[in-house]
């Protein structure tokens, strides 16, 4: 049976497929195609020479394949995918097949791969060819770290043994609860006992992992704490507490439920994380603080930072003799030092300051879970040398905003900002030396498309921005320059619905300047 791909699913990452479809459609309304003088009925098209479609800037087969499955074997009460607005993604379940994967592998070279779709990301182990796909990824690159995100329900010991043969592999286990009954209740996991054993089995097979939890009122705070301690006892490399946010479409959304629960979660997590060794990071970290200070929020076991005796709460004052001005700056300096495997730090602790040198472990040494034997790299942004530095606002963004304002000679500037960074950005922009008569205002667009508790800028869509700017203009008049981050747009400047940002200029009748910004991942 012919498998059709959705034009819309490609619109964000390879919009020229949409252009071809629109062009063909507009032509077929006026002409009929022929073959040897006879009309030919056409109802679709296919990509011709795949070499022409190597347009994705990717180096790993895993990234090029994207989500292996768009279906799940659990029914988590807090699952954000259940709250997706209608029409956001294709609803037909789709599994990446081995034939597609082989062809993608064939055309993946020189930093380019075949164009890929936007699709929802569910449980990869539900793909019937899951292990074949994993093996293909390993064959494609014997040293590439393979990252697997799973709820663990199908992760049997037998499968873990097979996965161990594919090292280096890194697993993010969405455990949520270490109590099988709680897991069964809040996740709808019918094989709940299996998942609870996963951390212990991964540890015994020296596969490093991260534990993930979405705190949920029906789980209770005590179970949350027990789960964090359970992950620590089994030497999770890190634990992520992902604060839930339900859209207005989510069947369990109610306006106040999470607002009352989450402050208590934050307090308990802050309390428990200081007494254990596995770093516990609340995500998004702006929920904890909007401060840009370079404070260590966790130290990975047996990492260079751990060996040197660094602790949660230590302040990074200087890195390789350069004064640290912010957390993002510290991450950038650590990234520069990382290839040498050595970095010199000046640390502030309480009222004292001291110097330490961090040295990466020798190759071949087993320092589980920081970097087990056979792992060349296990470095993620914000975790170099074992120091956990959650993502934050970069001071360089302010410079970029200022440069755009000067280049456009704008007099009335409206800067869009996520609610998570509003205060920080307001403080930083207040110090800009604007030209005489120039005005600058901040606006936090309301996320109406997703609605509910969703308030992060990375989930804006352009129609939200149109509505918010128009509402603002009714009081304050239209600006002549709209400055906004690009972190919610694809590299083609398209939002989640595939709409290009250039339409904002037409619809609102003003200039738009994009500020390149990183997404907050940790």
């Amino acid at each position: 049976m012919t498998e059709f791909h959705s034009v819309r699913a490609f619109a964000r990452e390879e919009p020229r497929i949409e252009l071809i479809e629109a062009t063909l459609r507009s032509l077929l309304a006026l002409v009929e195609l022929e073959f040897e003088g006879q009309p030919v009925q056409v109802d679709g098209f296919r990509l011709r020479n795949l070499e022409d479609w190597r347009t994705a800037r990717e180096t790993s087969l895993q990234l090029n394949l994207g989500s292996l499955s768009t279906t799940c074997n659990c029914r988590c009460e807090f699952c954000y995918e259940q709250g997706n607005p209608p029409g956001l993604f294709e609803t037909e379940p789709r599994f990446v097949g081995v034939q597609e994967a082989r062809v993608r592998r064939k055309y993946l070279h020189d930093g380019r791969g075949l164009a890929h779709e936007s699709k929802s990301s569910f449980e990869p182990l539900t793909n019937p060819r899951f292990f074949d796909l994993m093996r293909l990824m390993r064959e494609d690159d014997p040293e590439q770290l393979i990252e697997l995100i799973t709820n663990g329900a199908l992760l049997s010991e037998e499968l873990i043994v097979r996965l161990a043969e594919l090292k280096p592999i890194w697993i993010n286990v969405s455990l949520n609860s270490s109590d099988a009954a709680v897991r069964g209740r809040i996740m709808g996991d019918r094989r709940f006992g299996q998942a609870v054993r996963v951390p212990e089995i991964l540890r015994s097979h020296e596969i490093p992992f991260m534990g993930s939890l979405v705190p949920w009122p029906e789980q209770g705070l005590d179970d949350l704490v027990r789960t964090i301690e359970y992950l620590d006892a089994h030497e999770a490399r890190t634990t992520r507490v992902a604060m839930p946010a339900l859209t207005r479409h989510h069947p369990r959304y109610s306006p106040t439920a999470l607002r009352e629960w989450l402050p208590a979660v934050k307090d308990r997590v802050e309390e428990v994380r200081r007494g254990i060794r596995t770093p516990v990071l609340i995500s998004p970290f702006t929920y904890v603080t909007s401060s840009l200070d370079a404070v260590v929020e966790g130290v990975i076991r047996r990492s260079p930072a751990d060996v040197a005796g660094l602790e949660i709460g230590d302040r990074l004052l200087a890195i390789d003799d350069r004064q640290v001005v912010s957390r993002a700056h510290a991450s950038s300096l650590l990234a520069k030092a990382q290839p040498s495997g050595r970095v010199a730090l000046e640390i502030g602790r309480d009222d004292a300051a001291f110097d330490v040198v961090l040295q990466e472990p020798a190759p071949g040494l087993d320092v589980y879970p920081y970097r087990p034997r056979d792992y060349r790299r296990l470095d993620f942004p914000g975790m170099l040398f074992g120091l956990c530095l959650p993502g934050s606002f970069h001071l360089s963004y302010v410079k970029r905003i200022y440069e755009k304002i000067l280049a456009r000679e704008a007099k009335r500037v409206l800067v869009l900002v996520s609610s998570h960074f509003r205060e920080v950005v307001a403080d930083l922009l207040a110090g800009l030396p604007l030209s005489s008569g120039a005005e600058l205002e901040l606006l936090v667009p309301e996320n109406r498309f997703f609605g509910g508790d969703v308030d992060i800028g990375d989930l804006w869509v352009l129609e939200d921005i149109v509505a918010s700017v128009r509402a603002h203009a009714r009081e304050a008049g239209l600006p002549d320059l709209l400055v906004m981050p690009d972190s919610f747009l694809s590299r083609w400047g398209r939002d989640l619905l595939g709409v290009p940002y250039t339409e904002l200029e037409t619809v609102l009748g003003l200039e738009v300047a994009l500020i390149p910004c990183e997404r907050i991942l940790v």
Binding site: T23, A29, L30, P500, E503, T506
Partner: protein, 83 residues
């Protein structure tokens, strides 16, 4: 015309939506041009002497007195139906 070079490759198939042109005030030929320009503008920005040009419509060379407007696809959340 080039033939596909790898006939044993996995094939990416796409369906065409119905090809009816919704003719408003304009004729079908004008609508065809409008759709193609609109589709192009979703992928690129026209430039003139290095500066971006915001295109909101077009004129046929045989009838320069008449402007045909392009209709952006961007919806306004205020006017879209909220639950």
């Amino acid at each position: 015309m080039r033939e596909p070079e790898h006939s044993d490759d996995y094939v990416w198939h796409f369906k065409l939506q119905d090809a009816d042109l919704v003719a408003g005030e304009d004729d079908a030929l004008t609508e065809m041009v409008r759709q193609q320009i609109s589709a192009l503008l979703r992928c690129l920005t026209f430039t003139s002497d290095g500066r971006d040009v915001r295109v909101t419509g077009f004129r046929f060379l045989d009838d320069p007195s008449r402007e045909h407007l392009l209709l952006p696809s961007l919806a306004d959340a205020e006017s879209s139906e909220l639950e």
